[in-house]
Amino acid sequence: MYPVSKGANVPAPPDPAPAERRRRFDELYRSHHREVLGYLLRRTPNTDDAADVFAETFLAAWRRLDDLPSDPEVRLWLYGTARRTLANYRRGERRRLALADRLRADLASRYQPPDFSGELAEVTAAFRHLPERDRELLSLVAWEGLDPGQIATVLGCTRNAARIRLHRARRRLADELARRRPQGDPPPARAFAPNGDIA
């Protein structure tokens, strides 16, 4: 491996990375790369975007290594960074990172998003009908297993706001599922058990 240019935006020749810093980064990457890649592939079927945002997220982590929170909070920081970067990609701010070339190739050749059928297709349709903000809240609970306090950290809002928004998102999903159920089909007592400490 050898450092190379780029010409742009280079503040000063970098110091060689101290071994200790590299060791900390390797530990962070080893502990959390699966979670970040999983997070991204659960959010986008575009494997190129997932690969690039994955690289950008850990590039940001490397650059800010000295400022990052320690485990387990650093996982939330990584989710938050990945989320914002992916949002910007979706809005057209998209850059193809050369260092993600191989990851992009691996993901493109091996990943096929699941195609749910039957009841799960219904759930998928209802879920996709929700606003993006609701989907993200529900996903952070269901897919990443976060509680409202952790969600607040990822989204950069207060814990109370996260609880309220999550509660509303769950209600909207339940309504959407009920709306799609054929008439005469009795609704379940609860669309689903609350997960977390919603009042």
Binding site: P3, S5, F25, D26, L41, A60, N88, A98, L107
Partner: protein, 302 residues
Amino acid sequence: MNPVTRISPVSDAQAAALASGDTLADLAGEIATTPAAARARRASPRSATRRRLLIGIPAAAALAVAGLVATSIGSPGQKVGPVTVGPPKAEAAALSFTRHGGYLDVIVRNPLADAKKYRAEFARYGLNISLTLVPASPSLVGTLVYASGPTTGPQIIPISAVGKCWTGGGGNVCPVGVRVPLDFKGQAYLTFGRAARPGELYETTAPANARGEALHGLSYVGKTVAQVLPLLAARHVVAAHYLLNEHCENVGSRTAPAGWYVTDADPYAQGEVQLWVSKTWPSTQQSCPGNLPSPTASPHNH
């Protein structure tokens, strides 16, 4: 059970298994060879990572081989930076190889050749080297913007030429090729900047006001959109795309409110720039979660 749990597209373990262990390990290594420059840039409202990979090269680590470069661009065609971008002769080689002692010096002669052609030419020398070219903003055309390879054994060294490009930091030493040891082992990945075709979006950019770029010498940060657009028009540059900073996220748009403030500009395509704009000035983006050491409560609770 939360029904959303059941429509999870992929688990963490499944996701990680999609990429080879080598790919993931090499990516970590490549990231860790980039400069950890966040501290110097934290005061900036822009994201430290939004541009394409920005890697600095220590000037002392590069070889200045100006004579070599001068001989390598003697072919006909339009010259942009150190490479020729005009239509290449059909029989022309895409790369030039010059032996210097125990090394091969490789310069890109045709930046529009197919990646397979480069690979084939490297293979003729027994080298497993993958070369790609990406459309670059003018000051980066012909420069090596990214490279990776094995960490042990003989190493590929970038060849630099003074005055062939200008960096955002004010330097003008830029790689234009690579020096490959004859006993190089393993696989390497190289990416050069090439001239963009009309309308083609740049994939790698210097700051829009860097030397050689469309807005060099122009002052626009802190001015309103209404003030900046005439300055661009005077240079025949179009603001083709905007990123509106709202609630700590950048929203892409073809238009922007005239009274908003320009916080930054990127080269976008030939004769086009992308403007970063904010409703307030000075920008408040520093307080966004992603620009802090860790995500903390933001004033925007949506």
